[in-house]
């Protein structure tokens, strides 16, 4: 049961990018937002995810603006003294990098390895779409500021 909707490939369609771009512009134009542009873009991305992924739910569950939440994050660096076995060191490097990955994908700190990989896969595809879409939006708005017509048609959905 792997329809396009449930795979990371759904982020690669032109329509997905177009819809996101349009909605993003719509929301950003409002003057009553209390989220930053970055937060708005991320929340919209999470909404576009359709609630199926942990990272999207984690983003949306933060009701407070991140500006207020930044103080809460602490880094815990744990130094472990180990035996000289190569195997142990490699395992630790692996664990450490796994933990870093879990911290990079929202809401995925405590996931099992396999679920973390699944979430990361979807999250990466979503981020790539976000970058494409926001670049296109910036292009359109830049064109608006300069007062010139955009050169390419269908700019908001173009994907190369």
């Amino acid at each position: 049961m792997s329809t396009l909707e449930s795979t990371p490939d759904r982020w690669k369609t032109v329509s997905q990018q177009q819809i996101y771009s349009m909605k993003l512009i719509q929301v950003l134009r409002r003057t009553d937002r209390h989220f930053t542009v970055r937060e708005t873009a991320d929340r919209l991305l999470a909404v576009s995810s359709g609630g199926r992924t942990r990272w999207s739910r984690a983003i949306l569950s933060n009701r407070l603006s991140l500006n207020m939440m930044n103080n809460r994050r602490r880094r815990r660096h744990k130094k472990v003294r180990v035996s000289g076995e190569i195997r142990m060191k490699k395992k630790e490097a692996f664990d450490r990098k796994t933990r870093v990955l879990g911290e990079l994908v929202p809401g995925c700190r405590k996931l099992s390895f396999s679920r973390l990989i699944d979430e990361a896969e979807d999250y990466i595809a979503a981020l790539e779409m976000q970058v494409r879409a926001m670049s296109a939006v910036a292009g359109v708005l830049a064109g608006a500021g300069a007062g010139s017509l955009p050169a390419d048609s269908d700019k908001l959905g173009c994907n190369n």
Binding site: I25, V37, M134
Partner: protein, 113 residues
């Protein structure tokens, strides 16, 4: 939470932790499972130098190349975050300098052309 080992290598093929049950405890993943998962990640990344196994120690080597792929994945996500940040800054700037009417006009123009 911080000291929890996420993965533990196991030679038994007990099917591993699977992970789909959503449990947050440490899971045993088999070598095969890990290799499958890492190859999944590798496909996401733009360019990863894949290391060919030459030694007999599949486990060590699997962990080493897995670490490399994990590292690349983390770097890639960080890069994407940075790009989104830069784009967000740019959009903030653009939004503050143009008025709503121009925005609307530009959008419509870009759609109907």
């Amino acid at each position: 939470m911080s000291g929890r080992r996420v993965s533990r290598q196991s030679s038994s093929s007990g099917g591993g932790g699977g992970g789909s049950s959503g449990s947050s405890s440490s899971s045993r993943i088999t070598d095969d499972e890990m290799i499958n998962l890492i190859s999944k990640l590798q496909q996401l990344l733009p360019e990863i130098p894949t290391s060919n196994t030459r030694t007999n120690r599949r486990t060590n080597h699997a962990k080493a190349s897995a670490s490399k792929v994990l590292q690349e994945t983390c770097n890639y996500i960080k890069n994407l975050h940075r790009e989104v940040d830069d784009l967000s800054d740019r959009l903030s700037q653009l939004l503050s300098t143009i008025d709503a009417d121009s925005t609307e006009a530009a959008i419509i123009r870009s759609l109907i052309e």
